[in-house]
Amino acid sequence: MRLTAVGRAALQAGLTPGLTLADARARAPALHAVERDRAAEARLLGRIVAGCARYTPAVAAEPPDGLVLDATGCLEPWGDATALADDLLDRLAAGGVAARAGHGGTPQAARARARFGDAPDLRDLPVAALEAAPDVTTALRRAGLRTVGDLARRPRALLAARFGDLALRLARLLEEEDPRITPARTAPPVAASRRFAEPIGRVEDAFAVLRDLVAEAAVTLAERQQGGRLFAARLFRSDGHVAALRVATGRPTRDPALVMRLFDERLAALADPLDPGFGFDAVRLDVARAEPLAPAQEGLDAPADDREALGDLLDRLATRLGPARIRRLGPGDSHIPECAEEVLPAGTAPAWQPAGEGEPPLRPLRLLHPPEPVEAVLFETPDGPPARFRWAGIDFRVVHEEGPERIAAEWWRRRDRGGQPRDYFRVEDEAGRRFWLFRRGQAAWFLHGLFA
């Protein structure tokens, strides 16, 4: 076992990463060693990446212990990259995370400055800053090439021939070639954010700011003739916690009042109320998905208005109860009763065949799923209808019946090619209650549905 990371005190005691645990204990008997928890490291890094959304939407984690921010176009509130980095380091330090920052024209340049010393001239960095394979780095050192500058003076073609991707690494480090980072979160089509000099302690005030941001985003959306389908609000707490609220709409919209109603609804539906802690110091709104939406027209006809009103209602209900609780039934592609319908999202418009003219209902209004066994069934002939049965502790005497309607199991869909057919009966008792019963095998009876 070896040390992978050491604290400040351990460093002063002369311990370094890479030392075996036995050696380390010999040098510092009071050493407190814990096993490395990669999952916890990844979680911490993930939290930091999420928190860095306050600076720029393009943030990427560089596991296990780094992250890179593409601050292109995002420096205006800070002045320059150093100020931004200082703010980030302050926040990390407040959270107990020791970190170093560097910036440059490419992710590799920034990374090298953060990890190998903040040299004003990238050419002064050691060759290790190229982070090539260890044997390559060793080979370069043996050849007397100490710094990146030494290497840069050599013909590139030779480097490529001898060391493969080293020439590419060099070009990226020296800001000659600028690859894009792959951000943890792709930049949203439309976004707006606000930072506060002093944290604000009330959720209501944060929501008032959010209202402004929504209005701001609505203007941008209107310019682009777009409407949002997915809105994400993030409230950044000064202690680094990020509260994220997202609402989705069934149709593209840019109506600030509507979006705010949904956010209010989402806030009200939270299981744990939003805790402002020591206050929020930034609020950000992302329109995570936008779709074309023509400019509003005057004199919309009533049906369109109604459809819109229904869309609004469905959005509100979905925000409050969750989209899974708002549904429509669509026809299923099967004659098995349980599969003859399909649960669809409420925004869909399924097409059902109308019922046959003059026929009484042949399928129940309420389907019991799973079917309930019924007891004390009396029947006169082996494949005949039931004359009596008991369900839920009540005896029913059948006076009218129709059947059997045989519904075969879909053996071609079953792996065991089995399944017993069911013989269904529509029955009515003395009082007029209509039931849908089926028999499976010789004498197993089940109630599968209730007719109106």
Binding site: D306, R307, E308, A309, L310, D312, L313, R316, L317, R320, L321, R325, I326, R327, R328, L329, G330, P331, G332, P337, A340, E341, A346, A349, P350, A351, W352, P354, A355, E357, G358, E359, P360, P361, L362, R363, P364, L365, R366, L367, L368, H369, W391, A392, I394, F396, H400, E401, E402, R426, E428, E430, A431, G432, R433, F435, G449, L450, F451, A452
Partner: protein, 246 residues
């Protein structure tokens, strides 16, 4: 196109005058007792006479919703989640067969009675909803006079018809415009003794500003989207399922 044919039928028996604030059920005696029919934009309450009549009561509520909503209006069926299992859930093909196109029916599930009431207010208030069936799983003290008045107020403003399908006799005062006790009734059997079209024994227990009515035996005619009165022998013979099926 069957939909337009239904439109003609339903507009025929909607009472004339105004924007048809009342919709006739199709059974004359009952429509007279109701002063023209079921009031739209109001709260109505109904419950099964016996737990095993739940299928009948559900059907009756949806049929009233179908009448109040007209041939195309959106119907919302708002049920409490916990009650769904014992008596089953609405079945699409069965809905088609009572003349309620599932495509116009939005199913909403509320986790408990409190949430059901909150959501019900939103639903009934919406101008996009023509009729709403509200189905709590069990009697709840939350559905008191105040809650009923609120729902009535919202229904009046939006024009949506709210139908409260209680699980059992609520046994408490209510702000509903009408209150119904619904039981299944023997149907007019078809050939070879097969069960016929849905039939109900519907008793208007109470109505605001009017007398109650004795139980009426009604048959639902899906193809006409209306009820017929089976208590009157003539109507039963003329409109019985036997003729239609032959």
């Amino acid at each position: 196109m069957p939909e337009s044919a239904r439109l003609v039928h339903s507009s025929c028996h909607a009472t004339s005058g105004g924007a048809s604030l009342r919709v006739g059920l199709g059974a004359d005696a009952l429509d007279r007792a109701l002063n023209g029919g079921l009031a739209r934009g109001r709260l109505h309450e109904l419950w099964p006479a016996h737990p095993s009549d739940l299928g009948a009561a559900t059907g009756f509520a949806l049929m009233l919703a179908r009448l109040a909503a007209g041939p195309t209006g959106t119907i919302v069926y708002l049920a409490e989640a916990r009650g769904a299992h014992r008596a089953g859930a609405l079945h699409g093909p069965g809905l088609v067969e009572i003349g309620v196109d599932p495509a116009r029916l939005v199913l909403v599930e509320a986790p408990d009675a409190r949430e059901l009431l909150r959501v019900a207010a939103d639903v009934v208030r919406s101008p996009a909803v023509a009729a709403a069936v509200l189905a709590p799983a069990r009697p709840t003290p939350l559905l008191d006079l105040t809650a009923g008045r609120r729902l009535t107020l919202f229904a009046e403003r939006s024009g949506a018809t709210a139908l409260l399908l209680a699980a059992a006799d609520p046994a408490q005062p209510s702000a509903a415009a009408t209150r119904w006790r619904v039981a299944a009734a023997p149907s007019v059997p078809l050939d070879a003794g097969a069960p016929g079209h849905p039939a109900f024994l519907a008793e208007l227990v109470r109505q605001r500003g009017g007398p109650p009515a004795p139980p009426a035996r009604l048959e639902w005619r899906r193809d006409l989207a209306r009820f017929t009165d089976l208590s009157q022998p003539v109507a039963a013979v003329a409109g019985g399922g036997r003729v239609a099926r032959a």
